[in-house]
């Protein structure tokens, strides 16, 4: 956001009292979280705590129904926007289980995605007349090629990647690297990495983490969703949150992750429930 004096405010992702259901069952039960451009947050928690649901709800997955609360991006409530518009505004989700799209090459897909991203989305612009296809600004092939080569070098991705069909027959490590390659190409201002470490061996984890670190900077906000602490050995977060039963129950600095890891979720949650027991009763 540009102010009158030319000073650019960092973009923020603000989640307030977010409640969401899947198939009638409440998974998110009042999430509050703010991630600012330039910061890296880690969201930890046991399985089933709602971490991946949160990632999907931020992108607008149709399976989830938001029943309460709001998500602001760059000051705009994005809850009514389709996933493509959220993406074009600058939010990126690296999937835990990215879909294979047979017949569509990584290169072709990246070009289309980049074209869409460059088109952007301005929620204040007048709506397109119905039935009219929006004008598409193509990217010169040479420019695209150059950018792609640069990013592939940065992420140590093999050249043959470009001609393979997206995620089809990819190993776990290749899928995650392909996600980070997409992130590198699309240059989002806010990236959510959903269990990017899952299914990776140590070498793959290191390569992916190095890729993410190479992309970090004042223009990128990162939310790393993880079950384990180990990815945080490679990507150091500024803030660590623990999620449990659909809410963020505790937040802390970078050392908090180590504490969680040493203690285990069970113990942490027991302690929390013991200390907040009275509050829970009031709410119920």
């Amino acid at each position: 956001m540009e102010k009158e004096n030319g000073h650019v405010e960092p973009v923020q992702l603000v989640i307030r009292d977010l409640h969401a259901n899947v198939e009638g069952k409440e998974i998110l039960r009042g999430v509050n979280l703010t991630v600012t451009q330039g910061e890296t947050h880690a969201l930890m928690g046991p399985n089933g705590s709602g971490k991946s649901t949160l990632a999907n709800v931020v992108m607008g997955h149709p399976k989830y129904e938001v029943t309460q609360g709001e998500i602001l991006f760059n000051g705009i409530n994005i809850l009514d926007l389709s996933p493509d518009k959220r993406a074009r505004m600058g939010i990126f989700l690296a999937f835990q289980y990215p879909s294979a799209v047979p017949g569509v090459s990584v290169g072709n897909f990246l070009r289309r995605a980049l074209e869409a991203k460059r088109e952007g989305y301005d929620p204040n612009a007048p709506a397109e007349p119905t039935g009219q296809m929006p004008k598409r600004k193509g990217i010169p092939p040479a420019e695209f090629r150059k950018m792609l080569n640069e990013k592939m070098r940065l992420l140590k991705v093999d050249n043959t990647f470009v001609n393979r069909y997206i995620n089809e027959g990819f190993s776990g490590g290749e899928k995650k690297r392909a996600e980070i390659l997409q992130m590198a190409m699309l240059e989002p201002s806010m990236a959510i990495l959903d269990e990017t470490d899952s299914g990776l061996d140590v070498d793959a984890l290191r390569i992916v983490s190095e890729g993410v670190n190479a992309l970090r900077g004042p223009k990128l906000g990162v939310l790393i969703i993880t079950h384990y602490q180990r990815i945080l050995d490679y990507i150091t977060p500024d803030v660590v949150h623990v999620m449990y039963k659909g809410r963020i129950v505790k937040s802390g600095g970078r050392d908090f992750a180590l504490e969680v890891d040493k203690q285990g979720y069970e113990r942490l949650i027991q302690d929390l429930e013991a200390s907040e027991g009275s509050e829970e009763t009031v709410e119920a």
């Binding site: 992108m59 997955h61 149709p62 399976k63 389709s82 996933p83 493509d84 959220r86 993406a87 074009r88 990126f92 989700l93 999937f95 990215p98 879909s99 799209v101 047979p102 017949g103 569509v104 072709n108 897909f109 289309r112 995605a113 869409a116 991203k117 088109e119 039935g131 296809m133 069909y165 997409q182 699309l186």
Partner: protein, 441 residues
């Protein structure tokens, strides 16, 4: 000059008139008469017949089809814009039953390659035509519509490649017809002699008209020992055409075919695609693609007939259906007791883009040999995957663009195997246009 006489319906008088009008050898005249007799003897298929169970002939009025002699030359070349930069070994343009454009490389002529229209072939290479025309591959007795074709066929491509000759550049035919209440009965006859090789692509195209047109096509492909053919047939008749066809290939020892059919047009398309592997070690790759919208109806029967040992057949038919269109795929793999060490695969996959489109898929196996290498079949009918859509939308693609990309990915593995760049690009474009039209509705 005599005024053109419009004739209506396929009748004995119409066969006689056609025989009178065309300067053909007596044996061909006799074959037309015989085919007409066969036609009259065979019952019109009804929905009681297994092959016709899902396709009704109720709206087909053969008695109304005009067999007009009226003829207007087309303007300009028939070769589509997208392919004008391509280099072909030969080009044949046919318009409403007559050859209007023709070219064949001199070096191919010198090697004895015959590539011409059927009427010319009948005049100049009568013996070859006599031996193969509707004799061993698709005889008139094959079906009611094959018999009708045998009596009334009007034009088409004749290709003969002599022993050991490899035709490097593709050969190309465009069969264009007005089909405004009128008929087109194109015959393709391809004979590849031993150890010869060729690529041949033909299009069937007509404008959108108000009156129902009628088409009956037959393609006979005879591959001798070690011959190798890549055949591409693209049907984009206007949307009011009723199209009936049989494409059959006979494969002798160690011969190979890649047979690709693309069906985009016509109101009704009912046809067979068959590979008969009668020599040991033959290979048939059969690929089909159909894109249907509106109320288009496509009914395809396929046969992989393994009559000899060590044969391989691999069939993949894919359909994209929108609106209220409908497709029926019924495929049979048949392995005779002689078909030892056969490997036969069949797959039919359908992508439905609307709730009202429907695709039926009926696979069949008849295995008579007991030591086959492999035999599998599979069929899928499904909507665009919501998770794929979400994934693509999360990368900024609108729902429409994401759907386009998924359709493109679905059809592209077949299209990318078309060995003519201009045709490949044109097909991609045409299919995307069809999907766009749907989305705008």
């Amino acid at each position: 000059m005599t005024a053109p006489t419009a004739r209506r319906g396929f009748t004995t008088e119409a066969v006689d008139a056609l025989i009178q009008r065309r300067d053909e050898p007596e044996w061909m005249r006799e074959r037309r008469r015989e085919a007409w007799t066969t036609y009259q003897e065979l019952p019109m298929p009804t929905q009681q017949d297994e092959e016709w169970r899902r396709t009704s002939l109720r709206d087909i009025h053969l008695e109304d089809v005009e067999l007009s002699e009226d003829w207007h030359a087309p303007t300009g070349t028939l070769l589509p814009e997208a392919e004008r930069k391509e280099t072909f070994g030969g080009f044949l343009g046919i318009y409403d039953g007559r050859r209007v454009e023709y070219r064949l490389d001199d070096d191919l002529k010198a090697k004895g390659v015959i590539f011409t229209d059927m009427a010319t072939a009948l005049r100049e290479h009568g013996d070859l035509v006599r031996e193969y025309f509707m004799t061993k591959c698709v005889p008139a007795s094959d079906s009611k519509f094959a018999a009708l074709h045998g009596a009334f066929w009007d034009t088409g491509t004749f290709l003969y490649v002599p022993k050991g000759v490899a035709v490097e550049l593709p050969l190309r035919t465009i069969v264009a017809a007005s089909l405004d209440g009128t008929a087109s009965l194109a015959h393709t006859l391809i004979i590849l002699d031993e150890e010869s090789q060729a690529t041949f692509a033909e299009d069937f195209t007509s404008p959108l008209t108000g009156n129902a047109g009628f088409s009956s096509r037959v393609a006979e492909i005879i591959l001798k020992r070690g011959a190798n053919l890549h055949y591409i047939g693209v049907q984009h008749w206007g949307k009011s055409v009723h199209d009936f066809h049989t494409e059959r290939v006979l494969l002798d020892r160690d011969s190979t075919i890649i047979l690709q059919t693309v069906e985009l047009g016509s109101r009704l398309s009912k046809g067979r695609v068959e590979a008969i592997l009668h020599g040991n070690g033959a290979t048939a790759k059969l690929q089909g693609l159909y894109v249907e919208d509106g109320r288009q109806h496509l009914d395809r029967y396929t046969l992989q007939d393994h009559r000899a040992a060590d044969g391989t057949s691999d069939l993949l038919f894919k359909g994209v259906l929108t609106d209220k269109s409908r497709s029926v795929f019924s495929g049979l793999i048949r392995v005779s007791p002689e078909g030892k060490k056969t490997a036969a695969y069949q797959q039919n996959r359908n992508l439905l883009l609307s709730r009202t489109a429907r695709a039926d898929s009926i696979p069949n196996l008849e295995i008579g040999a007991n030591d086959i290498l492999g035999c599998t079949h599979g069929a899928t009918v499904g909507k665009v995957d919501e998770e794929q859509l979400f994934y693509l939308m999360c990368r900024g693609l609108s729902r429409i663009d994401a759907t386009h990309l998924i359709v493109e990915g679905f059809v592209d593995p077949l299209i990318e195997q078309v060995p003519i760049t201009g045709l490949r690009e044109a097909l991609r474009h045409e299919i995307q246009e069809r999907v766009s039209v749907l989305e705008a509705q």
